[in-house]
């Protein structure tokens, strides 16, 4: 693996126009983390969804428009929070470093 690729997974075949996508990549020291868990918390901090990262460290959510928090858990790391705003027809890209 020669360093992390940029951004979340490919959007080929995804109906971006009608979705509020939040996606990105989890890295540690610039390398993708393939065994992390990313949780999506709503504006009150309540859990909405969670995905494991792909082998390339990537993740994706289909949220609603609004303010969200990504909470990332990875082995041998403390959890990391990232705030993100989602909007319909927009792909919000988040780079998470653990």
């Amino acid at each position: 693996m020669c360093g992390a690729i940029n951004g979340g997974p490919s959007l080929d075949g995804v109906d971006v126009e009608n979705q509020a996508v939040i996606q990105g990549i989890v890295t540690r020291d610039g390398q993708p983390v393939g065994n992390a868990y990313v949780r999506l918390l709503d504006r009150t901090g309540e859990f909405t969804a969670e995905v494991p990262t792909s082998a390339t460290g990537q993740f994706r959510f289909f949220a609603g428009p609004g303010e969200w928090t990504l909470r990332t858990l990875a082995p041998r790391s403390i959890s990391v929070d990232n705030a993100v705003t989602a909007a319909k027809g927009v792909v919000a890209e988040v780079a998470v470093a653990v």
Partner: protein
């Protein structure tokens, strides 16, 4: 039932990896998760291919379950320890389903696959084979499964618990946010159902909260111990998680899982629906 009789820890599983009377079974929504690495000795159940009928909108019949478990090498006397991704949602569903068909010794691995991975415990890609058995399932236990007519009759009388996220409960989302928002049914919830998201019963690492925290959670939500309880979500797997908490950990008597859940209820004609953050009235 109690925490001790329904749950095992990751340490316990590691100590019993070579015990052939204990069968580890991974159940995932993502059927490829097992192939990428699983707990040594674990066999795989595919939530969709193995446990859903495929023609009828229902899970597999008693006969198909018997054939499935026999082929997987699981016997009637074995202790089955389920674990999986999504914070054990589908593992809890499989636990509930096996309970429905009367398997005696069932456990969930506390924290499931996530806890195991976050602890950096051993995973293998080696597929384990167990010698075939002749599994015999019992008659279905309808006391733990709710169908739509009972659910409609329960509005305003029984404890209805919607365990989806607050945004799904209110009708702002139609599915958990790791899935595209494109289901055909309308948004909202069953009137008078309280919203206690399944996630409130779990820690971030997927393990269940303590008995005291769980008791407090449902007491605060106004769960009336004197009434029967029905839990539902979107497709019945997150509500299996809450069914497990109420029935198997806390030992409540009459708790049912409505596995038709919102994909069924939200598509029914002429039934009452509530929108927004409040339970609504009967």
């Amino acid at each position: 039932m109690s925490r001790e009789s329904a749950l095992v820890t990751a340490d316990w599983v590691e100590e019993h990896l070579n015990d052939s009377s204990i069968v580890l079974v991974e159940v995932d929504e993502d059927a490829e998760a097992y192939d990428k690495g699983h707990i040594p000795g674990a066999v795989k159940l595919d939530w969709k291919k193995d446990l859903q009928d495929g023609v009828r909108h229902d899970f597999v019949s008693k006969e198909k379950l018997e054939a499935l478990l026999s082929a997987k090498g699981i016997g009637n006397d074995d202790t089955i320890v389920f674990y999986g991704g999504n914070n054990n949602w589908f593992a809890a569903y499989a636990y509930w389903y096996l309970k429905y068909y009367g398997h005696d010794n069932l456990r969930l691995l506390d924290g499931g696959r996530k806890k195991w991975e976050l602890d950096s415990r051993e995973l293998t890609t080696e597929v384990s084979e167990r010698p075939a058995t002749t599994y015999v399932a019992k008659e279905a236990d309808e006391s733990i499964r709710a169908f739509r007519d009972e659910v409609i009759a329960s509005i305003g009388t029984k404890n209805l618990i919607d365990v989806r996220s607050p945004d799904e409960y209110a009708g702002r989302l139609l599915a958990p946010a790791h899935l595209p928002q494109e289901q055909a049914q309308i948004g909202g919830h069953i009137p008078t159902a309280g919203n206690v998201p399944w996630s409130k019963a779990a820690n971030d690492d997927g393990t269940f909260r303590s008995d005291e925290e769980l008791k407090e959670l449902y007491a605060e939500a106004g769960l009336d111990d004197a009434k029967d309880t029905i839990a539902y979500c979107r497709i019945g797997e997150r509500s299996s998680h809450t069914w497990f908490v109420l029935k198997e950990i806390l030992g409540h008597e009459n708790v049912k899982n409505y596995d038709g859940s919102w994909t069924e209820y939200g598509a029914l004609r002429a039934v009452p629906v509530a929108l927004g953050d409040e339970p609504g009235v009967a």
